[in-house]
Each structure stands twice: as structure tokens, then as C-alpha cells.
Amino acid sequence: METKILSSKPIHSRTKRSFSFRLRKQIIPHVVLILLGLVFLFPFIWLILTSLKSETEIFAMPPTIFPSHPQWKNYVDALTSMPFLLYIKNTLVLVAINIIGQLFSAPLIAYSIAKINWKGRNIVFALVIATIILPPQVTMIPVYIIFSQLGWVNTYLPLTIGSFLGTAFNIFLCRQFLLGIPNEYSDAARVDGAGEFRIYWNIMYPLLKPALATVSIFTFEAVWHDFLSPLIYLNDQSLWTISLGLQGFLSQHDTQWELLMAAATMFTIPSVLVFFFGQKYFLQAGTSLTQFK
């Protein structure tokens, strides 16, 4: 209401100021946003353009912007010069297991913090937050030694077990979401004599869907991007993930830019697709971080 009153003040001079008003409120912002948008998009476009150039064109002086004859063959070459599809499959397997793990652990733990009024809840929550600050390097070496003594090196166990035990960020997301769900839902069920687990599983879990979608998307991105853990734990090339594969490809073809760019493009596309389809969940995560209570 108040906004309207305030902004309606200059209405009497509207026709006169119309252009400068529009310039200020619409045109200039659009120009700035578009220019900056181009800066952000450019490397990405450059990636795709380079991936379509021939080797001679890449080293041409002066450089060309658009490939004169798009070389789709670069993609075929990149695909055949390394087991790209196997790496994708491996990474997807890891993504799937990690998502299952996160969907199991994050809401469960968050529920104990947000909805059960027990003595340890604040301690658990504080510890969850503390793990965000603890640099992973501090525990990396002993964890590696433990896993190697268990014979788990060169398997997917070290890369998946953690998600079944909860990750701070995802627990936090679910907690924020749970806090927003009124207790009336569960109280009614409790009166009917339902046990806590049934309330969690039958009532709360379905309500958590948007948060779980966010968790899944972030887990996808995290696993898809991860480089250090696969680097440390996976030795056998047949188990490699896509980021390890691309790094290996880089060390063998370090100046075959057209192939590198084609491979990098293929590596990037799934990530971008997930982003476009799940855009609103990224926003949600941003919002829930700002509403820290």
C-alpha cells in the first residue's frame, strides 16, 4: 500500500519524464545486465566454439571467432580416445548411491534436531555446524589410512559411505525446511497413537519433497564435480569418474585443445541441464541459508 502512495508522487509529471524514467528504470539496467551477461557467457561460448575448430584453425594467427568448418568429428574423437561413456556411467552410479544416502540420512538427522524435543538436539546441531568449519584435510589422512586398512581403497565405498552418515549442508537444509512445517500435522497423528517413526515417514517425509529435491540436486553437482576424493581413492582406470578421466585426458593430450574442449563441453552439459531443470531449488537453498535461526 505504502509503496503505491510513494511511487505515485511523481505521476503528474509522468508524460514529461517518461523517457528519462524508463531510461533509468529499464533501459540502463538492461544494458548493464546484458553486457555483464555476455561477459559471463563468453567463456562458455568460447568453449563450444573452440571445440568445433580444426587443429590448424586453433593455432591460426590471428585467431578466428567462429569455426570455418564445424568439426563435429572432434566430439567423436574425444569420445573414442578415452572410455568417456564408462566414466559417465561410473560417475552416475556414484551420484545415484550418494543421493540415496543423502535422502536417507539428511532428513532423518534433521528431524531429530527440528522436531524431537530431546536433550541432545542442540549439541547435535552445534556439531553438525562445526563440521562445516573443520577443513577436510585435517581428517583426510587418517580416514585414508583407515579405509586402506579395510581394503576399501580402489572401491566406491570411501566415496559413498559418508553420504549415509549425513552431510552438514544437507542436514541444515532439511532442518530449515522442517522448522517451517507446523506441528499440527504430527500432533494429530500422535493423538491417534502413531509412533515417532511412522509420523516421520508417513507425514513429514512426503512434506519434505521440495527440500529433498534440493538435496538431490546439490548432491548431484557435488559428486559430479568432485575431484580430490576420486583422485585419492580410485587407482583402477575402469573405476574412474569423469573428472579423473578428463584430467588424465589432459595429461595425455595437453595441447590438443579442440579435443579437450569437446571433452570439457560434454562433461559440462549434464551439470548445466540439471541446473536448468532444478533452478528453483538452487534459489530455495540460497533463501534457506539466509534464514538462519
Partner: protein, 309 residues
């Protein structure tokens, strides 16, 4: 009479308490198991290893605080600290400012803002391995697009990832490309600032700058604190970019200018197999990160405003 009732309810109460306690414990048990097994135990064990000489092949050999003494005579350690501090104290603030500016732009009431939002956020979902390879090419001094452009407008054209003075600035520029994530968080916070605050200030005759300084920045300060701490901690973990850009040797590129703390630690642990020494490095990292967090929290009392309540 009243006495017995309250006694009974108390007992009942405490029984209920215990029930809830066990429930809470059961629900959070995955975290507790993980916390004990993958955080607390390794954390302590890491300290033990830091007092030994251990190469994974022979059993750990007790050396007391020798590793810590050696670290303070190790050039690579100092080099990695300086490089990391550069990223932490120059890179983090720069990217915070840029992400705030982007958030302010995106907060304008213009049509199609969701498209811009998507474009700015896009680079931050590109895997680091891929974006490092891309930027290696963009920054190529001979054929790269940036230097070609700089030459065309007769500006100096640095060798970026090949020149020790420019590797870190190049990394920061590369990092700015991915500031969309931080901007998104700022944007969410901006949209949470009550309009009434601005209106009241306008009525009081506050200038635009004052409104920005005393309302926007103040309201965003808790988020700035969060992003600052996460950014600083993140810069102590920079690894993949350096690993890719500095070549397979992992020695940190030209003149070791990209030898960061996490890279040096990885090198000691998994290349040289100096597990004890690397554990000592990890503990020093822990102390540094804790100190930085503590100092920032302390000083934050002066510049962070928590809303009314």
C-alpha cells in the same frame, strides 16, 4: 495431595524425557556414528600421526614434535602459506564485492530477471576440472582470446598461468566467473529486507548512499559474515585448479606460485608418502583456520547487525 501429584507427573515427565532422548538419539544416530568414526577418531589419530614418521609401508615411528620443527624450516610451507593468504585475503573480498554487486543488479525490478539470474549462476555449476581447462585456453598467451584482445587494444598482455606474478590474479579472475553462487545467496537476503525500512528512510530524507550503507549493508552483514568465513575456509582448500593448471607435477606451476596449502599437503601425503609430516601440516591448518574464524567472529560484533529480535 498436591505433592504426590507433582511427584507422579515428574516421574511420568522424566520417563517421557527419556523416551524422547532415545528417540532423538536413534534418529540422529547416522550422524553420531559418522561424527565419531569419520571426524573425532581421525581427528585424534591425525594428531598422533603428526608425531610420527610414517610412510604407509613401515609402521609409524615416534619422532615427537620433529615434524612441526621441520615444517618451520620448510620453504614450501612458507610459500604455500603466502600463496594461500593471497587467495584468502585478496581473492575472497574481491569475490564478495563482485557477488554483492551482481546481486544488487539482479534485485532491480526489470523484466526477464530470471533469465539474467540463470546466466550469472550458470558458470558456478561448471565442474572445476572443465572450467580450469577452459581458462587455461582462454588465458593462453599465444592463442588465448584475452591476450589477443589486449594486444588488439595495445595493452600489456601478461602470460597469466605461465608467469609467476600473474598466476594468482588469473585464478581470482577465473573464480569471479563462478561468483553466481554467492550472488544468489545475497539476492535471497536482499529480497528479505523489509521494504518499509527503505520507505521510512526516504521519508526521513536519507540519500541513496545512506540507504545502501545503513540499511542494505547492515541487513546483509550476517550473510557477509557467513560468506566471508566460508570463503576464507574455502581458499585454504584450493586444490583442483592448481592441480590441473600447474600440470601433473603438482609442484605448483611456475616458481611454485600456485603451490597452495592443500596442494602442498596432498603432495607430502600422497606423492612423497610423508604421512606424519602431512598430518602435522593438517594440524597447523586446523589451528590457522580456527584462529581466523575466531578473529572474524570477534571483530564481527562490531560490524554485523542481527535483526530486531
Amino acid at each position: 495431595m498436591a505433592f504426590t501429584v507433582s511427584e507422579a507427573s515428574k516421574r511420568k515427565h522424566s520417563k517421557k524425557e527419556w523416551h524422547k532422548f532415545w528417540l532423538g538419539l536413534a534418529f540422529s544416530s547416522p550422524f553420531i556414528i559418522g561424527f565419531l568414526g569419520l571426524t573425532v577418531f581421525p581427528f585424534i589419530e591425525s594428531f598422533y600421526y603428526s608425531l610420527t614418521d610414517y610412510d604407509l609401508f613401515n609402521s609409524p615411528n615416534w619422532v615427537g614434535f620433529q615434524n612441526y620443527l621441520d615444517i618451520f624450516h620448510d620453504d614450501a610451507f612458507y610459500k604455500s602459506i603466502i600463496n594461500t593468504m593471497f587467495m584468502a585475503f585478496i581473492g575472497t573480498p574481491v569475490s564478495l564485492i563482485i557477488s554483492l554487486l551482481i546481486a544488487l543488479l539482479l534485485n532491480m525490478k526489470v523484466k526477464g530477471v530470471s533469465i539474467y539470474r540463470a546466466i550469472y549462476y550458470l558458470p558456478s555449476v561448471i565442474p572445476v576440472v572443465a572450467s580450469s581447462i577452459l581458462w587455461m585456453w582462454v588465458f593462453n598467451p599465444q592463442y588465448g582470446i584475452i591476450d589477443t584482445f589486449l594486444r588488439a587494444v595495445h595493452l600489456p598482455d601478461p602470460s597469466w598461468f605461465l608467469d609467476p606474478n600473474f598466476t594468482k590474479p588469473a585464478l581470482i579472475i577465473m573464480g569471479l566467473w563462478g561468483t553466481g553462487g554467492g550472488a544468489l545467496i545475497y539476492l535471497a537476503a536482499l529480497q528479505g529486507i523489509p521494504k518499509e525500512l527503505y520507505e521510512a528512510a526516504s521519508i526521513d530524507g536519507a540519500t541513496m548512499w545512506h540507504r545502501f550503507r545503513f540499511i542494505t549493508l547492515a541487513a546483509l552483514s550476517p550473510i557477509t559474515l557467513f560468506q566471508l568465513i566460508m570463503g576464507l575456509i574455502g581458499s585454504f582448500q584450493i586444490f583442483t585448479e592448481s592441480f590441473i593448471l600447474a600440470g601433473n607435477s603438482a609442484q605448483g606451476g611456475p616458481d611454485q606460485s600456485m603451490l597452495f596449502y592443500a596442494v602442498n599437503l596432498y603432495q607430502e601425503a600422497f606423492v612423497n608418502l610423508h604421512m606424519g609430516y602431512a598430518s602435522a601440516l593438517a594440524w597447523i591448518l586446523f589451528v590457522i583456520v580456527m584462529l581466523i574464524t575466531l578473529i572474524i567472529f570477534k571483530t564481527s560484533l562490531r560490524w554485523v547487525y542481527y535483526g530486531g529480535e
